[in-house]
């Protein structure tokens, strides 16, 4: 067997891949258990099995901390990949906890659901680690397919099915476009490995009469880059490739919406950072400006569009869909900064956003488990029907808006400071204006919960699993908001993966 040009033994290779392997086995185990267990009630333990799988994978990830080496020539086990794994494993844990009652009540097929979630986790772990365009595409498409299935998981619900079809048609097209773009890179450079691509592109540089470094591949790299960026923008839900998001979010089962709002974004940003920072080195002016200009435009459009449209939404899932589009716009600020601080900021904001948004969705799931509604109007008087849920929702909304002392504030502090460090003051200014706009629609939810009288006095109870998810999310939001130093230490190490030396 060829392990690439490294000197790893078979045992080491397996060890370095252990999080992925564990996830794969946990997923398969759930499928098997689902088939073997005769009684319907016994399958209620499957979420716990999934959770166990995630926790074990998380432990394995922590044990790998400190490694920085290529694996099998297409993956990399470095601090960046490991931190992406940590973020996504914690996020998926929250998704699994939130799914418990909802899936049991709404679907007969529990096993497949959790297996799909674990497979999705696996693909995101791979995406965080991949250094090869083929591996990238395979994992990318695997994640897309799992996402389509999850979106349409409620087979008898027409809205769920419709959402899945829309998502699928859109995603399949984008995948094709992206694959085409990736093939251009191979054609231009003769390699699918990111560092080889960077080396070839760099070698094609020359200095023109005015002393400016130019690149003879420049005219052909541009379309390849745009096609590739389209695929990434689709994954993170950035304008103009965001149209699938509101429909998919609204139609999908709510736990899947929670998943969609966070996990593909983590995957997308991980890939964007790695491809842009290792595959397209900055000192090479690939375009007449460089890729940052392209992303800056996308960033501004994404946050502004997402926020402005969110102002008019009545359905809470749709509102959070547009909100999450806007959030992707903020995170792009960190990518555009293309610095160690910017990369740290992206990871930090993703972690903060994951905790916050999943906390908010846990409240939405608790609410819809009881009432079956997602209309903001129906949240009237929630502060009296369920004071705890309403309080957690407020905390999460304030964190999304970037109000201290929450995780969202620290995340935004880092994003904006990354921009200002690089002199991108206008971008930071647009970012803060958008933060203020976003509070106007988060306020709509707060107003319903706290300032509108309740229609009924019926209390809303929370299942134990959901309560755990809510607790973890809200504690996480405050811990990251008040004591960010330990997490930041890890994330900085992760960011140094691309900026060492």
């Amino acid at each position: 067997m060829d392990f690439g040009d490294t000197t790893l033994t078979l045992g080491q290779t397996i060890g370095l891949l252990s999080p992925e392997i564990l996830l794969l086995f946990a997923g398969l185990l759930i499928l098997a258990l689902d088939a073997i267990l005769p009684q319907e009630e016994e399958r209620d333990w499957l979420p716990q099995v999934a959770l166990l799988g995630l926790v074990v994978a998380l432990v394995a990830t922590f044990l790998l901390w400190g490694w920085n080496t290529p694996v099998l020539a297409v993956l990399s086990c470095d601090p960046f990949a490991l931190m992406v794994k940590v973020i996504v494993l914690v996020a998926m844990g929250l998704v699994v906890l939130s799914s418990d009652v909802y899936i049991r009540v709404n679907s007969r097929y529990q096993g497949e659901f959790y297996a799909m979630l674990l497979f999705a986790t696996l693909t995101i772990c791979l995406l965080g680690a991949t250094t090869n365009l083929i591996m990238l595409f395979l994992a990318f498409d695997f994640l897309s397919i799992v996402s389509y299935i999850l979106t349409g998981y409620l087979r008898d619900d027409t809205r769920s099915t419709e959402a899945a079809i829309k998502y699928f048609l859109y995603g399949a097209t984008i995948s094709a476009v992206m694959l085409y773009g990736l093939s251009w890179f191979y054609g231009l450079t003769g390699s699918t490995d990111l560092s080889s691509i960077a080396a070839v592109l760099k070698g094609a540089g020359y200095i023109d009469g005015d002393g400016v470094v130019r690149n003879m591949l420049q005219p052909v790299v541009l379309p390849a880059l745009v096609m590739m960026a389209a695929g990434f923008a689709f994954k993170i839900g950035a304008v103009p490739f965001h149209q699938w998001a509101p429909d998919a979010y609204e139609g999908a089962p709510t736990p899947v919406t929670a998943f969609l709002s966070v996990c593909p974004k983590v995957a997308g940003f991980a890939v964007i950072l790695r491809v842009l920072l290792t595959g397209l080195p900055l000192d090479l002016r690939v375009l007449s400006m460089d890729w940052r200009t392209l992303l800056m435009a996308i960033s501004v459009l994404t946050m502004t569009f997402g926020n402005l449209v969110a102002l008019w939404q009545q359905n809470i899932k749709r509102l959070l869909a547009y909100s999450s589009i806007a959030q992707a716009g903020y995170i792009l600020i960190g990518v555009v900064s293309a610095s160690e601080r910017g990369t740290t900021a992206v990871l930090l904001y993703l972690a903060a956003y994951a905790l916050t948004n999943l906390g908010a969705f846990a409240v939405i799931i608790a609410f819809s488990n009881k009432t079956g509604s997602d209309d903001i109007e129906d949240y009237a008087g929630l502060s009296q029907r369920a004071p705890g849920l309403a309080l957690i929702m407020i905390i999460c909304l304030l964190s999304l808006g970037g109000i201290p002392p929450t995780a969202g504030f620290v995340g935004k502090l880092w994003l904006f400071s990354a921009a200002i460090e690089k002199g991108l003051i206008q971008l930071a200014a647009i970012g803060v204006i958008n933060s203020v706009i976003s509070l106007a629609y988060y306020w709509k939810i707060m107003r319903a919960m706290y300032f509108t009288p309740a229609q009924t006095d019926e209390h809303i109870s929370t299942s134990p699993a959901l309560a755990v998810a809510l607790g973890v999310a809200v504690v996480g939001v405050f811990v990251v908001g008040l004591f960010p130093a330990p997490l930041l230490g890890l994330l900085q190490t992760a960011a140094q993966t691309f900026f060492a030396g």
Partner: protein, 513 residues
């Protein structure tokens, strides 16, 4: 060393957490715990005041500094000097009186009310104590949410509109300040307020290489604080918020929250950007114009009000205008402090501004209590509906007279000294502004005497309508007396407070030589 600042800062938080675990039916215990913790902070801040006065009010005392986010050089850094110590005491005093008064007037959602009030107190303490810009910003925003909810839940008819307006106005101002704070960090490598001031004083102005950025950063800081002060033309949130807030909310808004803005101007804007502050106070006199407009326009609008609470709200705009004016005067003298005559005049301007912050907190806090007291009974604040109450509620009349006279700056009461010192400073540097602003003093006397005293207390008493009106209850007297005593005490003997401010001010100005 005993970390007295941290203890004071987190005492309200501890109280709030305790309140959270008390069952909501047990309102008496909730009220007692809330008041007890607020009262504890009075003792603590009094101790801080005495300690700062003894150790030297010109430097930061009781400093505590621990790394908070080492990756960004953000520290948990607290300190108190002659400027902040009295304001801490003011915060503790007004919060305690507010909670005491609320225990008798707030019947709805008592638990949440007391919880939020203590949280708000922590936010205000934090702003006055923080010596790290990020920490300052965090506390600045923490106070926003409880106040927003206090207005929104316990306020008057248009409370939602007023609450969101208050929230968004403040937020819009402060987010740009956050960007400026980050910019300052990349320039100086520190978030420490004293260190940045030191950098400006000893090395070079901030953003010296890019004047455009320097001006933008100056305005980012200035406008964030001017919105909070509030200075004309950023004052429009204030009448709504003050009018709709519950009585104790208005007291805290007028008494302390406005001072956060003024404090920021003195502590941050002036020492960070002396040249820009000077430029916009002299060559392009935007800041004096804002101050004069606040004073004169605010007072004129007061004359046109028929809602007693709204009238007092606008009077805050006018009175806080003196704070801005005093600071503009001091800024106008930047560069001339080599001569004692100018240094003294500038110090006088800032001392007057600081004294006004304290005095206005006491006086306008008192006025809002008095409005609440009459509204509880009459269920109206319409000045035209009253008349001749002087004979019906003589005790109330007396208290209102003293407070009103203090507000219009009668010698012998606290309000006099602030105006005196502000004018003394302003005449030296921007005489035109001083002459126009004196008009404001005349108008203030007019609306206090004509609108409040005459319309409410003099004239014919409508026996049918107001015959059953009762005079102040004991708890209302207990709320008002500490304020009255402070007004009289400071009126006759301002020295203890003035010495505190003067030490801090002189230290500040010596840095700007």
């Amino acid at each position: 060393m005993f970390p007295i600042l941290s203890v004071t800062l987190f005492a309200p938080l501890l109280g709030a957490i305790l309140i959270m675990v008390i069952p909501r039916e047990d309102e008496k215990t909730i009220q007692r715990v809330g008041i007890a913790f607020a009262f504890l902070t009075i003792l603590l801040t009094a101790f801080i005041w005495v300690g700062v006065a003894q150790e030297g009010a010109d430097v930061m005392q009781f400093q505590e500094q621990y790394p908070w986010i080492p990756a960004f050089n953000v520290t948990y850094h607290l300190g108190a000097d002659g400027l902040s110590a009295p304001l801490l005491f003011l915060t503790a005093l007004l919060t305690t009186l507010s909670l005491f008064y609320s225990a008798y007037t707030i019947k709805d959602r008592v638990k949440e009310y007391f919880f939020l009030f203590l949280l708000l107190q922590m936010g205000m303490f934090g702003v006055f104590m923080a010596l790290d810009l990020v920490l300052f910003y965090v506390f600045w925003e923490i106070g926003l949410v409880p106040m927003f909810l206090l207005i929104g839940v316990w306020g008057g008819k248009r409370r939602l509109y007023a609450a969101i307006k208050f929230f968004l106005f403040t937020l819009v101002g402060s987010v740009f300040m956050l960007l400026a704070i980050i910019g300052v960090y990349f320039q100086t490598g520190t978030f420490s307020i004293p260190e940045v001031a030191e950098f400006v004083a000893t090395q070079q102005p901030l953003f010296a290489a890019v004047p455009g950025i320097a001006t933008a950063a100056f305005w980012a800081f200035f406008i964030a604080f001017a919105i909070k002060v509030p200075s004309f033309p950023f004052h429009t949130w204030l009448p709504d918020a003050h009018t709709e807030a519950p009585t104790a909310g208005s007291v805290i808004l007028a008494g302390i929250l406005l001072k956060l803005g003024a404090y920021g101007l003195i502590r941050i804007t002036l020492p960070f950007f002396p040249d820009q502050f000077n430029y916009f106070s002299t060559t392009v006199p935007i800041i004096p114009i804002m101050a004069v407009m606040s004073i004169v326009y605010g007072a004129l609008v007061c004359m046109a009000q028929w809602d007693l609470k709204r009238l007092i709200a606008y009077s805050s705009v006018a009175h806080m205008g003196y704070v801005t004016l005093g600071l503009a005067a001091a800024a106008a003298g930047v560069g001339m402090f080599g001569e004692d005559i100018y240094l003294n005049a500038a110090a006088s301007g800032i001392n007057g501004a600081a004294f006004q912050m304290f005095a206005h907190g006491i006086i306008t806090g008192g006025l809002f209590f008095l409005v609440g007291i009459i509204y509880e009974r009459a269920h109206t604040r319409d000045l035209k509906a009253f008349g001749g109450l002087g004979s019906q509620v003589p005790y109330y009349y007396g208290v209102m007279l003293v407070t009103g006279f203090a507000s219009l700056g009668l010698p012998g009461l606290a309000g006099f000294w602030s105006e005196f010192f502000v004018f003394r400073g302003t005449v030296r540097f921007i005489p035109v502004a001083a002459f126009i602003s004196v008009l404001g003093v005349v108008f203030t006397a007019a609306y206090i005497l004509w609108k409040i005293v005459q319309y409410v207390f003099l004239g014919e008493l409508d026996k049918e309508k107001w015959g059953t009106l009762t005079d102040m209850e004991w708890w209302e007297k207990v709320t008002m007396w500490p304020l009255i005593v402070t007004m009289l005490f400071l009126g006759f003997y301002p020295t203890p407070l003035l010495d505190m401010f003067n030490a801090a001010t002189t230290a500040l100005l010596n840095n700007l030589r």
